[in-house]
């Protein structure tokens, strides 16, 4: 029971802080992958835009 995970930092056990860090990391990675996917798709659409497109011709 008296393992390192029950050492308290800032009033909370270490495992609470590690859990928070892991959650924030997982969420950040998921959002980053999603944003990268969106930007790749946007680049792909821009690269395949027809030459006679009115917006592309400007």
């Amino acid at each position: 029971m008296n393992s390192g995970a029950f050492t308290f930092i800032g009033g909370y056990p270490v495992y609470v802080w590690i859990s928070y860090a892991l959650t924030i990391l997982a969420v950040s990675v998921e959002v980053w992958l999603l944003v990268r996917r969106q930007s790749r798709r946007r680049e792909h659409l821009l690269s395949t835009r027809p030459v006679n497109d009115a917006r592309g011709a400007r």
Binding site: A5, F6, I18, L22, E30, L34
Partner: protein, 177 residues
């Protein structure tokens, strides 16, 4: 989160399968990544909690084992969809896994009641009052709300990506105008 997202995934996969609705299949795909992420997090952080509380990182307890099975179902669903090139066939194949796997969700939920396990019983109860200290209940409810809002936002953004990727470019452009 992982359990409820899986129920939603199975629902959308079944609707896509039965009614041949393309967006439902895409919705199921979109839900799978977030659900797998939350299930992984619950297993890892639960293990971190289990070490000081139970004295071990992992036990083959009914709740933990059925939750691990849920993660495998998510991984199986994602892998199957990735392995098939045709998105419509991938959706149908994924729907079979999703619908069969949904049986696991009530097993996870009731496992602590059906079997005498190391895992504690239900903490949040609507009918008989919650068995959790008030200072812990409030942040837990805030985090549940945050988890749901995050899931809704991420799943909808991913769904938009999927629609744009799968539908012809002309059709998307016409729809946007």
């Amino acid at each position: 989160m992982g359990m409820l997202l899986y129920v939603l995934l199975a629902f959308y996969a079944a609707v896509g399968w039965i009614f041949n609705a393309r967006v439902s299949g895409m919705m199921a795909s979109s839900l799978s990544i977030t659900g797998a992420m939350f299930t992984s997090l619950s297993l890892i952080t639960g293990s971190l909690w289990g070490r000081p509380t139970w004295g071990t990182w992992w036990v083959w307890d009914a709740r933990t084992t059925s939750t691990l099975l849920l993660l495998f179902l998510y991984i199986g669903f994602i892998s199957l969809q990735s392995a098939i090139d045709d998105p419509r066939r991938a959706d149908r194949a994924g729907a079979v896994v999703a619908v069969v796997g949904v049986v696991n969700v009530p097993i996870i939920y009731f496992s602590v009641q059906w079997w005498n396990t190391l895992h504690q019983g239900a903490t949040l109860r609507i009918a008989n009052g919650s068995r959790i200290a008030a200072p812990m209940l409030a942040p837990l409810l805030v985090m549940i709300a945050a988890g749901w809002l995050y899931s809704i936002a991420v799943v909808l953004v991913r769904l938009r990506c999927l629609i744009r990727e799968r539908e012809p470019i002309g059709a998307v452009a016409e729809g946007a105008q």
